[in-house]
């Protein structure tokens, strides 16, 4: 284990139970996140790209501790996030900030911005006057006027709400911020403002980000490393420029094509067994139909594809 590792996700599985009351007597289990491992170094940004339903949000929720893993571990600076208790747990939670999807829905409409922003501090038992001072400071940092504190979410535009949501994540002085689709509900000009702002914040506070998005060009703008996720697992991971220049996995190729907006027609249907990407792939062999591909390490990159198993 290297010293600079900030977060390690080791062999993580998160299962949801599908309950069919009448048809199945035994409820089935489906993995939303399956066999995910990666290491995030300090000051680094990892972009997690994938389609809807690929398990990106579940992964983030598990890292932040909202969901419990079914198997595997999330280790923050050598301490398991889910096994920590008491003061240690509080310390870890303060150092991991989380910006949920859709700021308009994650902020309570009945709470003033001041109470929303200071809520994480309340959980940490920080005195009321301190909380207010820190809220004032953090709003200044994110570029919002102080008056915003007395307003309600309905009074603000969506771009401002996103800044408030980021302020709420930054108020506990975190080292790692998890961003769940920070720009998907924004217009282009607001998206550019928020992306530049996130970059600025990273430099000011020396933050690490895990950025979850479905837009590979947004991910490539902020991240040094990219992880492509599909069907609950990371199919390809590596330095952003290498992944973009020479994608190894067929799904990565499709995502890059989609962002260049070539006309795409093929459908991504789930295969019953074996590799789920058979329909996309031109190099499929009989092995691909039978078994799930293993993880193969090529230099700084990791890919799940049978094609590279001999190299």
């Amino acid at each position: 284990m290297s010293n600079s590792a900030l977060l390690q996700v080791i062999d993580l599985y998160v299962n949801y139970r599908i309950v069919r009351k009448f048809t199945d007597i035994i409820s089935r289990v489906r993995s939303a996140v399956a066999d995910v491992s990666f290491t995030l170094n300090e000051g680094e940004t990892l972009g997690v790209v994938g389609g809807s339903g690929s398990g990106k949000t579940t992964l983030l929720k598990t890292i932040v501790g909202i969901l419990k893993p079914s198997k595997g571990e999330v280790v923050y600076r050598g301490v398991s996030v889910h096994n920590a208790r008491g003061e240690l747990k509080k310390k870890i939670m303060a150092e991991i900030g989380y910006v949920p999807q859709e700021p308009s829905q994650s902020l309570d409409p009945r709470m003033k911005i001041s109470s929303s922003v200071t809520e994480p501090l309340r959980a940490l038992r920080i005195s009321k006057s301190d909380r207010y001072e820190r809220a004032k400071h953090i709003l200044k940092v994110v570029g919002l006027p102080e008056e915003v504190l007395e307003l309600y979410p309905r009074d603000l535009s969506i771009g401002m709400l996103q800044r408030v949501a980021i302020a709420r994540a930054l108020i506990t002085k975190p080292k790692l911020v998890l961003l769940d689709e920070p720009t998907s509900s924004l217009d282009i000009s607001t998206q550019a403002q928020i992306l530049n702002f996130l970059r600025e914040m990273r430099e000011v506070f020396n933050l690490s980000y895990i950025l979850v998005t479905h837009d590979i060009s947004v991910a490539s703008y902020l991240s040094e490393r990219l992880a492509v996720m599909s069907h609950g697992t990371i199919v390809e991971e590596g330095p952003a420029n290498e992944v973009l220049e020479e994608p190894l996995h067929p799904y990565t190729k499709v995502l890059i094509e989609a962002s260049k907006l070539r006309e795409i027609e093929e459908s991504l249907e789930e295969a019953s067994a074996g590799c789920p990407f058979i329909n996309l792939c031109t190099f499929k062999t009989s092995t691909c139909f039978r078994e799930l591909p293993p993880q193969i390490v090529i230099g700084a990159r990791r890919v799940k594809c049978w094609r590279y198993s001999n190299k």
Binding site: S52, G159, N196, D215, S220, L261
Partner: protein, 316 residues
């Protein structure tokens, strides 16, 4: 090919009641949409693009105020404060909704919904069920979907079903109001390609409303850029995309992150004005980096080169 106008508007304004007055969210819009082409309306949220789309599709609320003139496939639908969409809705123009899950009836199977629409417009003479099957084939859905309820379909499949439903009355014009905004990047491309293919195969006029410029660039023949209820730039898509003239369009294009590029994105200072407080003169003036004294007067849409119009005093 002779270009014929499918949708034509002259000084069209649409507004809603606000504080004892009328708040005009779409202001004096003059557009011509040619038949069998794809026409994109680009703009940020709140610029009036959906209201304009609803006016074309006949889905304006009854409390909306209108002014000016709008014609769809030769039928006058708006003249002054009168609107008349009888016989236009459905047979001539339909709309593809933004969020398919809220547009499909959750209690009724896809097949039943399709058959209901076909029966309503064409009766039972031509076997409606067979027609429903053909529509599903057209949007590349498997035939089993006919017996599925909306909740059994994925997001992309739901949007395909919604497209089939919009095609069911065999319209001549389709207004697609942000059909891809609830989908991820991959499905976005797939659905946009599907719409383009359907438009070509069935010789439809497609009005595509979006805030995604990259998507618009791949499927559109003509592009209109709206800002604060007015049209700031209009023209053939290659001209607008390769040579944007209005400062707003130029800045907007620079704000899109490019794949693999890590240069700082340029942003437009400030935020779009709300309809209650539109600035005087050119509505982009307070945010414009190249404005001058002339901008306190409202500019007109003028033709700078063939098939390229812009509303900016710098080109007057």
């Amino acid at each position: 090919m002779v270009l014929e106008a499918s949708i034509k508007s002259i000084d069209l304004s649409i507004g809603y009641e606000y504080d004892y007055g009328v708040l005009w969210v779409v202001n004096s819009v003059n557009i011509v949409v040619w038949r069998n082409t794809t026409y994109c309306i680009i703009g940020e949220s709140g610029c009036g693009k959906s209201t304009l789309g609803n006016a074309m599709a006949g889905l304006l609320p009854t409390y909306a105020y209108t002014n000016g003139y709008l014609e769809v496939e030769g039928r006058i639908v708006v003249r002054g404060d009168e609107t008349n969409y009888n016989g236009v809705r459905g047979r001539i123009v339909t709309r593809i909704p933004q969020d398919p899950s809220s547009a499909l009836n959750p209690y009724v199977t896809i097949g039943e919904q399709l058959v209901k629409v076909i029966k309503h417009h064409y009766g039972v003479r031509e076997n409606p069920l067979e027609k429903a099957g053909k529509l599903l084939k057209l949007v590349k859905l498997p035939l089993e979907v006919i017996d599925y309820y909306p909740h059994e379909l994925s997001g992309g499949m739901k949007q395909r079903a919604a497209i089939a439903l919009a095609l069911a009355p065999m319209p001549k014009v389709i207004v697609a109001d942000e059909p891809t905004s609830s989908l991820d990047a991959y499905l976005r491309g797939v659905v946009a390609s599907l719409l383009k293919r359907v438009q070509r195969e069935l010789n439809l006029t497609l009005v595509f409303i979006t805030h995604d410029i990259a998507l618009a660039s791949t499927i559109c023949d003509y592009i209109t850029v709206m800002y604060a209820g007015t049209i700031v730039e209009e023209g053939a898509s290659d001209k607008v995309l390769h040579n944007p003239l209005h400062p707003y369009t130029q800045l907007l294009f620079k704000a899109i992150p490019k794949l693999g590029s890590r240069e700082t994105l340029s942003t437009i200072p400030g935020s779009p004005p709300s309809p209650t407080s539109y600035p005087e003169g050119c509505r982009f003036r307070p945010r414009c980096p190249v404005g001058f004294s002339e901008c306190y007067k409202a500019p007109k849409l003028i033709e700078v080169e063939p098939q390229h119009k812009v509303s900016c005093w710098r080109y007057a």
